[in-house]
Amino acid sequence: MKERTEWTDEQLMMSVRDGNDDAFCRLVDRHRKPILNFVYRFLGNRETAEDVSQDVFVRLWAASRTYVPTARFTTFLYLIARNLCLDHLDKRRRLPPLTSLSQELGAGEGAPRTLEDEIADTRAGPYGEISRRERAAELERALLSLPEDQRLVFVLTEVQGFTYQQAAEVVGCPPGTVASRKSAAVKHLRTRLIPTRVGAEGPG
């Protein structure tokens, strides 16, 4: 099928404002994967990310009535996503804490075990596969250990590929602050993820 001249996000959004549901579907189709990824990286939970990413588009639809294309559409969209993520974290903070996966279970014989150890799939597989999965989990934990403002900047610039200017618009701070938060985030992740100190030429 021949695609007609592709509309910009802003044009689609104006069309949504005028009640065009088809335009809304196109916007959702275009942005749901990156938004899901952003929310997942920021909140660190797939189910929550699924739920919150839908809410982003619900909020987008509701906001379309008042949409004025003064800012880049992506800035607008990620602003919604950021706000919903922060709302979610706020709400979670008010709830009693869940049992952490890495919290040690009750005293038993042998080495202290965590829930994570209990549910881990320890069946041997291709070595690389397991280490990759472990590394992904490690990265997820490391990301979650970042302060929220640093994590937001890191996910926007590193995962979503935003420029500092774009990230600054979403975060609501000067680009210089984005730079310093990014630098702090990288230092934090580096110490957590790559503990081998400089000069120690250990095997990988």
Binding site: K33, V58, V159, K187
Partner: protein
């Protein structure tokens, strides 16, 4: 450039935010600092890890759930719209009532006519009004007179139904008149 500045600049270079001068200075430092070279590797490593896992795919029910949430929102929006319309209608009704009260008060104020106004009201000349003055119910105000519309209307009504030859006592219609006017 020292190690700390270089490592901050490395992040900028990695994000494509460094100036050409910063890039040159950092490269110069890197060429002679193995520990900063290791930091550059670490940065690359982190980036690789961030993109190693494919981004999560929306589940099969993602669209369905969104549609349900939107339907919910649209319904709430419609309910809200109806509520707003009702509110507007009520507000309009209140305003109309207030307007009517104000208009009635205004009419009451205009209820008091002078000779010229009464002449206009009766479609006669002011002179004719003065001629008829003893007949027409009126209020004497010093040297001046005023006519109350209700009293005038009543007088007209009586005049309309009364036989021409039967003279009538009009003093009943005089409001605030002195005792010398009553029979």
């Amino acid at each position: 450039m020292n190690c700390m500045e270089t490592q901050d600049t490395l992040v900028l270079i990695h994000d494509g935010e460094a100036s050409p001068e910063q890039v040159d200075a950092a490269h110069l430092h890197l060429s002679e600092c193995p520990s900063c070279r290791a930091e550059a590797d670490a940065l690359r490593q982190i980036n690789v890890w961030c993109h190693e896992e494919p981004p999560p795919e929306p589940s099969e029910t993602w669209d369905l759930a969104l549609t349900a949430k939107l339907g919910d929102l649209k319904m709430r929006a419609a309910t809200e719209e109806i509520r707003l319309l009702r509110q507007i209608a009520e507000e309009m009704a209140t305003r109309i009532r207030a307007l009517e009260t104000a208009q009635a008060a205004e009419r009451l104020e205009r209820d008091l006519m002078n000779v010229n106004e009464l002449a206009l009201y009766l479609h006669v000349t002011p002179e004719k009004v003065r001629d008829l003055l003893p007949e027409i119910p009126h209020i004497a105000l010093g040297g001046d007179v005023r006519f109350r519309r209700a009293a005038v209307d009543g007088w007209l009504q009586l005049r309309e139904s009364a036989p021409a030859e039967a003279p009538l006592q009009w003093n009943d219609w005089v409001i605030g008149a002195g005792s010398h006017l009553s029979s």
